[in-house]
């Protein structure tokens, strides 16, 4: 319930200004994933990595103009570490 309260409470707080734009934060988990590396046409080099369930986060800022052009910036950090047997 605390998570839901945070989710709805933060999201429906009033932005400073429509023209000034607003921030969006995104979080989640990639429950389905595949990852492979290959080199020089060797198609089976390192497929089958088990990544578990890596988290995903991103931060966005967008203008809020109702017409015409809008602009945004999006930052997506992606990092993970895994070990396996070849």
């Amino acid at each position: 319930m605390a998570v839901l309260a945070l989710f709805f409470g933060l999201g429906f707080s009033e932005p400073a200004s429509a023209e000034a734009g607003g921030f969006t934060l995104e979080g989640g988990a990639f429950v389905l994933n595949s990852f492979s590396l290959s080199s020089l046409g060797s198609s089976n080099s390192t497929s089958g990595w088990n990544l578990g369930i890596p988290p995903t986060v991103r931060a966005e800022w967008w203008t809020d103009r109702p017409e015409g052009w809008n602009f945004g910036v999006v930052a997506v950090p992606v990092f993970f570490f895994r070990s396996r047997m070849f």
Partner: protein, 150 residues
């Protein structure tokens, strides 16, 4: 990883980074009673760093690249306070294998400037494994996300 040989059955570790930053401009091209469509483009800058190590042998690739991608944003109002939202940033390719695809399908709760979203993010792309380049990397990620507007 040219010239590097990893042995089957050996333990290996992978450090992988694919940080990316994009600047997007999109234009409202259609506003109907229930639907709005925006179309535009982004410049995406991405930093790739992967390091595969096994039994003292390391295969590493680091590079930075910036390139243009398409942006498509569609929103369909379900009622006065809920809508479906689809957004994709993509560098599409004819064979559907290469390229970059970053798509969101979400239920938006709220309206105008006061909303949150819950949905599914799909992020996939890379190079065809048949291409004889030195390093090919392919990723496909799908999962649930929540989005909070401040």
């Amino acid at each position: 990883m040219k010239g590097i040989v990893f042995h089957k059955g050996a333990p290996a570790t992978l450090h992988y980074q694919f940080h990316n930053f994009r600047v997007t401009g999109n234009y409202l091209i259609s506003r109907g009673a229930a639907s709005t469509i925006k179309l535009g483009g982004s410049i995406i800058a991405r930093y790739l760093n992967f390091d595969v190590q096994s039994q003292g042998v390391s295969g590493r690739n680091i590079n930075f690249i910036a390139f243009p991608i398409l942006n498509f944003d569609w929103e369909w109002a379900l009622d006065s306070s809920k809508s479906l939202h689809f957004r994709i940033d993509t560098f599409p390719t004819l064979n559907g294998i290469d390229g970059l695809y970053d798509a969101l399908l979400a239920l938006k709760l709220g309206k105008e400037l006061f909303w949150n979203e819950i949905g599914i993010r799909a992020f996939w792309g890379g190079y065809s494994p048949d291409e004889a380049t030195e390093n090919n990397n392919r990723i496909a990620f799908i999962g649930p996300v929540v989005r909070v507007r401040f």
